[in-house]
């Protein structure tokens, strides 16, 4: 059993009265790529924000590298984040900086490396994502796929121990999607990092991840290796993996029966 880098137990989270996550238990092993899957609004991005310390849990425990994230002071939280990389859904590149400066940003902020060393490191990161030739472009000049690759290079600029991927495949064409999936796997292995990928793209994710957690309505409803997930008979997992329009997640939004509504003439 690999040592868990992220341990979550009995975790609850709510925005005011609205419960988002209930009784989450997860163990994300060190050096592995784990996917957290589920439909829109099931709480998976909230969980990622909890792991990154952007918000605090209402109840339960969430440990990263043995540290209780919710109890860290700002300085310790930032120390933890220096060892964490995050890829945002739409890249979140700094629009006033070139591709080169975007990737150099964390290096310049957190290291005292000379500019020549930073230049070499940035070029190596860009080479890893295949965009060395785009170093001097501005983010506005990049396609969606290229922007995501630059953001990926930036997220691993400091060789993090933990990488968080928030919906990395959203809005990408099949070629870009395949490239990003391959890069996520390759960079995780190359860095020996613990990676957590929040996504609802089933087939691309199952092809690259080591383990999968399924979430629905703020709860973990299934878990397993990609092979186990593919043959799972759990109704929710089956519906999600095989993209069935109806199942435990209903096609119809909650409403009175059609007969009742038509006969009563109310909206």
């Amino acid at each position: 059993m690999t040592f868990p880098y992220v341990e979550i137990s009995g975790l609850d989270f709510a925005y005011g009265d609205r419960q988002i996550l209930s009784g989450i238990n997860m163990q994300l092993p060190k050096g592995k790529l784990t996917a957290i899957m589920g439909g829109s609004g099931c709480g998976k991005t909230t969980l990622l924000r909890l792991i990154g310390g952007q918000i605090k849990a209402c109840r339960g425990s969430l440990k990263v590298a043995g540290q209780e994230v919710g109890q860290l002071r700002e300085r310790d939280l930032y120390e933890m984040r220096r060892r964490t990389g995050m890829l945002f859904q739409f890249g979140a590149l700094f629009t006033d900086l070139t591709v080169f400066d975007n990737i150099a940003f964390p290096l310049r902020e957190h290291t005292k490396l000379p500019e020549s060393a930073i230049r070499d490191l940035v070029l190596l990161k860009l080479e890893a994502v295949g965009l060395r030739g785009a170093a001097q472009l501005m983010p506005a000049e990049l396609s969606g796929g290229m922007a995501r690759r630059v953001a990926l290079a930036r997220s691993v600029a400091l060789d993090p121990e933990l990488i968080l991927f928030d919906e990395p495949f959203t809005g990408l064409d099949p070629i870009s999607l395949s490239i990003i999936a391959t890069l996520i796997r390759r960079l995780t292995d190359a860095l020996g990092a613990t990676s957590v990928m929040v996504t609802h793209d089933v087939h691309e994710s199952l092809a690259v991840v080591d383990y999968v957690y399924f979430m629905s309505a703020g709860r973990v409803v299934g878990a397993g290796t990609p092979e186990e997930i593919k043959v799972s008979t759990d109704p929710y997992v089956y519906q999600f993996v095989h993209a069935q329009p109806d199942g435990p997640v209903h096609f119809h939004y909650q409403a009175p029966t059609l007969d009742e509504q038509l006969l009563e003439g109310v909206l």
């Binding site: 990154g52 952007q54 930032y78 120390e79 984040r81 220096r82 964490t84 995050m86 945002f88 859904q89 739409f90 979140a92 590149l93 700094f94 629009t95 940003f105 964390p106 902020e109 957190h110 968080l164």
Partner: protein, 263 residues
């Protein structure tokens, strides 16, 4: 629920929301000050914002100052010559600009040019998750983004007000001396003799600093607190301009009543 109860509920809710937001703004200001050290340790961050808020506002400030001075010259001469005191045109133009029009009009222009720009930039950075990305990179956005913009605005404002005043005095001289023919010696000599450095110039500088703090704080706060959508950022920009204008006019009254209460 009757009409009266509904009315009180709406008023109560709005009052609570406004008080809550004011408290949040106060906490934001304290946090901003606490994270301001980096701005002065890394002068390049500050210089960039001085350029964005100050240098890029120069055209509108100088042109507006010139026109205000031209109008002051015309209006002032028209009034003063009725009493045979047209030589006092220099004092009228200078005192109007140094005490009131310089800081106030420059502040209003600064709010609409630089303040709106700061809010839009910070709001869009929030909407596109750039602030969150920075925070996740262990770089505090308050220190790296907000504080330099705030201090850039605070330091730009007195300089812009001074330039506005200078352009206005030039405009008054152009109309009064060059076009109308007021005696040039009297124009400058009366101005020199009657404009007091402490009572007039320093008070004008204090006003412009206070307006700079108010406008810059409103601009960064509205951007930081904007709802992260296109509509939310647009509303935040509108709030910046409106709130800044009201704040400048209200603060001007308060400061003026303290500064000139002995007169």
């Amino acid at each position: 629920m009757n009409m009266l109860e509904r009315f009180f509920r709406v008023v109560g809710r709005n009052t609570i929301n406004r008080v809550w937001r004011l408290g949040f703004a106060a906490r934001f200001f304290i946090a901003l000050l606490a994270h301001s050290g980096e701005t002065f340790r890394r002068p390049r961050l500050l210089l960039r914002e001085l350029f964005a808020s100050g240098v890029l506002s120069l055209i509108i400030i100088l042109v507006s100052g010139l026109f205000v001075g031209l109008v002051l010259g015309l209006q002032g001469y028209d009034t003063l010559q009725r009493y045979g005191s047209s030589e006092a045109l220099g004092i009228l133009v200078a005192l109007s600009l140094v005490r009131e029009l310089g800081p106030v009009v420059a502040g209003l222009l600064f709010a609409s040019r630089a303040g709106s720009s700061i809010t839009a930039e910070v709001g869009l950075m929030k909407a596109t998750e750039q602030l969150t990305a920075m925070d996740m990179m262990a770089v505090n956005p308050l220190a790296r983004i907000i504080a330099p913009r705030f201090w850039g605005g605070v330091l730009s404002m007195p300089m812009l007000a001074a330039l506005f005043t200078a352009a206005g005095i030039f405009g008054g001289w152009l109309i009064g001396v060059v076009f109308i023919g007021v005696d040039e010696g009297a124009f400058w000599a009366q101005m020199q003799a009657n404009v007091n450095f402490v009572d007039d110039v320093c008070n004008g500088i204090i006003k412009s600093i206070v307006f700079g703090v108010a406008v810059s704080l409103i601009a960064v706060f509205e951007g930081f607190d904007a709802v992260p959508t296109a509509e939310g950022v647009s509303r935040a920009i509108t709030r910046t301009v409106v709130t800044s204008a009201l704040a400048i006019l209200a603060l001007d009254f308060v400061l003026t009543s303290f500064m000139f209460r002995g007169l």
